[in-house]
Symmetry: C2
Subunit: 586 residues, 2 copies
């Protein structure tokens, strides 16, 4: 019996990947349901056969394949943390007693409408993971696949799952530039993908969870903050961690039906390489975001490929960006020393990885609870002082976001000109000079070989300059763009991070009223102020970390940029000098 | 009594020149008829008063102002040479006996339809002087004013005529570039303005006038041709003439109502400056074209101004181009030694000028008759050899014309880019870097002054580069364009010059038939072959002169261009190097 299915969402196949492009509303015939891993094989009306994400189609007959769970794209099968510590107050003033993970969100969701996303200055608000998969035409591959990132209770072996490089990051856009190169700028999401419905800690009333919690972190998890020359700072390790992302290798599974790229990551500590696919990076990103997102901006991973064009260039670019992302994480004293990050870099074998993975997914110190681990070695700050600082950071990050975006805009335009019309023009100048030289050669007049040779050389020089111009952006502008792109991503995380702080400030301001209405005790009120102070130290430490990195990064990238620009102009001058010398002095 | 007048042709006023813009069909009121010099003062319906060329309007009442001759724009008051020597054959085989100038053209005009213009590869054929004045919207000033360039019999004192800078050159186009600068390229006519109806010598059957003429030039006018290393060459003077065109001065007449620009021309021979207005250059051009046009390409004068915008820049540009034109004429051994050219450069006083002017206008050795003065010191060439040479020159000049136009096209595009979008882009890059520096300064973080200072300096460097880029074309591309523009003008003359030769070759080929039908004698036939040989030597000498100049000009301009380009890129590299040095090494 031929099984028919209805296509629910557009899906664009990645070339060379045995996938099948389908359109919403199309009817396909199921040819193989036992592919597994969220994929099924289908045939379209033109007889073409290929893989389609199974949650992109709806079987026409009631049918459940063995081992598949037929989830719907709107389902949010996110991790369900143990909520036993959620004894803080909720908007209903009824402490959430739920501790079994049975839809504890509804309590918070009610209050999270409009959430802290209001603080997000990104022009295009990011949807939640599952909400945008079908709507965004740029995302040609399944998003929020229900079988990936199962809750810790699920026994599904992620290590062996099938579809590669799932990206859950809400990238605002990803375009191919005129010149066919992967476009710089605008490819990173400008905000962290903090799913507002996902964690109580990120709902509008989120900070309360921490402000009034009774749980205290274990000593070994403590994150101290010291006051240094520049103000509050994180505790930095003696030797900064770093790693090298290299050697992308194509692997395949499902008897060659699906392929993936595996990267080799070698940390400077062990110098022992581990292998990871993009989906593992994405898993790490999700863990770091859950755990640290309230206190530390966790930038999105590099963009998902739009189409299969320029595959090699794409892999190279992704690797470079994964390297950038990993280096930035390595440089962060809190992130780099976390268990989950260390696991990612230094797991010994598959068993070790699986074990660590489950442990990380069960981590309870996530969301605003991260602040329970932070211990500033400094006197408590006045809430007014906290507010002032917070507003200053908000202003600065907003201004820098504008500045970075401006650089990306002009840089992108410059990139297009340098790789498009400008070299074409130099080429045409070169050709025109050479053509004239050919005409001159045909004159039949004696003794003009010196001129025609010199003209030909000059023409060729301009053709060489055309090539130099076209290739230069890859040598300098590329890095300037990448750095600014990274900062755009980082800065996009601040509205959420700062939003959490602002919500906490607001809650502390309500303190007297809450005491008066018996919602909290006087003791609670002073606890809240103390904890707000802790949050502020955390934000200040993070800002100082950010500033320090920013100064280093911009110094370095500007030096590199200008150095390459000097070389570029000097090379052109030298070439023209040589061309000039070939004309005879009269 | 208010005198009304009907406007016959559109006329656009030059700003600041007391002129009045009028439209065809408009009715104006004459406010002053005694202005003189071809102008009258009129008032339009909006009450605006200004000068209008009197032949652009038609008085509503029969009225003749004292001293005005009410000419019509279509009248061709060209010089009427003494035709007493026109005893050669004509198409009618009736030797033209007309010697009084009473419309001798009709005889030739019949045969000149379609004339040698067929050989002209210019896409836009040039009309005659008077034919296009009203039709061409680019010509905002009166063209072919009947009171200028009166025949030699007229007593009108040209020295004191009123309207300035009449251009009779048929410039194909004249545009203002996007950037507002006077556009390079396309501003010169690509053909000599040989009026086909004006001289029998230029009609299709023209060369016959010379091929069979009995008149022999006086010894003192002889133009010898020698055979040198490169082939036939003109006799070159020991010291090459040159001149400097400088010091443009604004003068005015008619009590300040009309203004004009007078240039100072100082020849290297006398070192004594003479003054000339554009109209005098134009008179010289007409004389040279009439006299030498069949044998020597006489390039058009620089373009007439389109509008009054950028007056200073326009005057500078015109002077530069007049200099280029004069230098080219000075470099030509035949042109520079001619009486009329010498008169222009070395007249002693007004009387001297007037006398010489009339004499030049009465010169009978014009058109193809110039060949009567040419005496090659070389054996007679076989007509087949002549044809081969002629075709070779035709091919070469056509090919070079294409090559030169290609350079002008790409150069013009490059000019626009370098003065328009490119510097704007560098400016925006500079501004973006400086903006980021300002944001960084506002961080409140300690110890980043070194970075922000360096960033500001780098940003300013890019603003300086923007300026360098925008100004560079004036320093190098300008000269490359001007040279190619000059050559475009020169090359545009060759189709006419070569056309005369081709017509002569055709006529000589007809020799046997003409003898058989008793139209010419056997003696005539061999005279024709001999004279064709003379024409060929003339063309070869001219081609060799052209090649020699071409090699010199392109060598020189390419050297200048590349030298300036080297300086340009070196300057940028040095500026960037300095900017780079301001970043701290980490």
């Amino acid at each position: 019996m031929a099984l028919k299915a209805q296509v629910l969402y557009d899906f664009t196949a990645e070339p060379g990947n045995n996938e099948l492009t389908v359109k919403e509303g199309e009817t396909v015939t199921i040819t193989n349901q036992s592919i597994g891993g969220g994929w099924i094989e289908a045939q379209n009306s033109r007889g073409e056969v290929g893989l389609v994400p199974e949650d992109y189609i709806e079987l026409s007959k009631a049918f459940q394949g063995a081992g598949t769970t037929a989830p719907t794209p709107s389902g949010g099968n996110v991790a369900s943390p143990d909520l036993s510590f959620f004894d803080a107050f909720a908007p209903s003033s009824t402490p959430a007693q739920a501790s079994n993970g049975n839809d504890p969100w509804s309590v918070w969701n009610a209050d999270s409408s409009g959430g802290s996303n209001n603080n997000n200055w990104a022009s295009k608000p990011e949807g939640t993971q599952t909400g945008r998969s079908a709507a965004d035409p740029w995302n040609s591959v399944p998003q929020g696949h229900p079988q990936a990132y199962q809750g810790p209770g699920a026994e599904f072996d992620e290590w062996d799952d099938e579809w590669d490089d799932k990206s859950t990051a809400g990238y605002a856009e990803s375009e191919l530039g005129e010149s066919g190169a992967i476009q710089r700028g605008g490819t990173h999401s400008s905000s962290m993908k903090i799913s507002l419905n996902k964690f109580p800690g990120f709902s509008k009333s989120g900070p309360e969870l921490y402000l009034l919690c009774k749980q205290i972190a274990k000593d070994k998890d403590k994150l101290p903050i010291y006051v240094g020359e520049v103000g509050p700072v994180w505790a930095y390790p003696e030797n900064q961690l770093d790693c090298i992302v290299a050697d992308p290798k194509k692997g395949s599974k499902m008897y060659g039906l699906k392929s993936y790229i595996e990267y080799q990551i070698t940390p400077s500590t062990t110098n022992r390489p581990v292998n990871h696919r993009y989906k593992h990076f994405d898993w790490l990103y999700e863990r770091l975001l859950d755990k640290f997102g309230s206190a530390i901006p966790i930038p999105s991973l590099p963009d998902k490929q739009v189409t299969g064009r320029f595959e090699e260039e794409f892999i190279k670019m992704r690797m470079e960006r994964l390297q950038g992302w990993m280096s930035r994480m390595c440089r962060h004293p809190v992130v780099s020393s976390s268990d989950v990050f260390q696991l990612f870099l230094t797991y010994k074998d598959e068993k070790d990885w699986k074990f660590g993975k489950r442990k990380a997914e069960k981590d309870e110190t996530v969301g605003v609870m991260i602040f329970t681990t932070i211990e500033p070695e400094a006197p408590e700050l006045d809430p007014l002082e906290v507010e002032k600082k917070c507003e200053q950071f908000s202003r600065f990050t907003k201004a820098m976001d504008d500045g970075v975006k401006e650089i990306l805009t002009v840089g992108n335009e410059h990139w297009k000109r340098c790789t498009g019309p400008l070299p074409k023009e130099y080429q045409r100048i070169g050709k025109a000079i050479q053509n004239l030289s050919s005409v001159f050669t045909s004159s039949g007049y004696q003794g003009e070989a010196a001129l025609t040779d010199a003209l030909t050389a000059a023409g060729k020089t301009y053709e060489e300059i055309a090539q130099l111009v076209a290739e230069q952006p890859k040598k300098d502008l590329h890095f300037l763009m990448e750095t600014n792109n990274e900062y755009k991503g980082l800065l996009g995380c601040f509205p959420d991070t700062i939003g959490v702080h602002k919500a906490a400030i607001d809650k502390v301001k309500e303190g007297d009223k809450l005491v008066a209405t018996n919602k909290i005790t006087t003791q609670d009120k002073s606890t809240m102020a103390k904890r707000l102070s802790t949050m502020s130290y955390s934000l200040q430490a993070e800002m100082n970390h950010f500033h320090n990195n920013r100064i280093y990064d911009y110094n370095r990238v500007m030096q590199l940029y200008l150095e390459e620009q000097v070389k570029f102009y000097e090379t052109i001058a030298a070439k023209l000098k040589h061309a000039h010398s070939q004309f005879t002095t009269m």
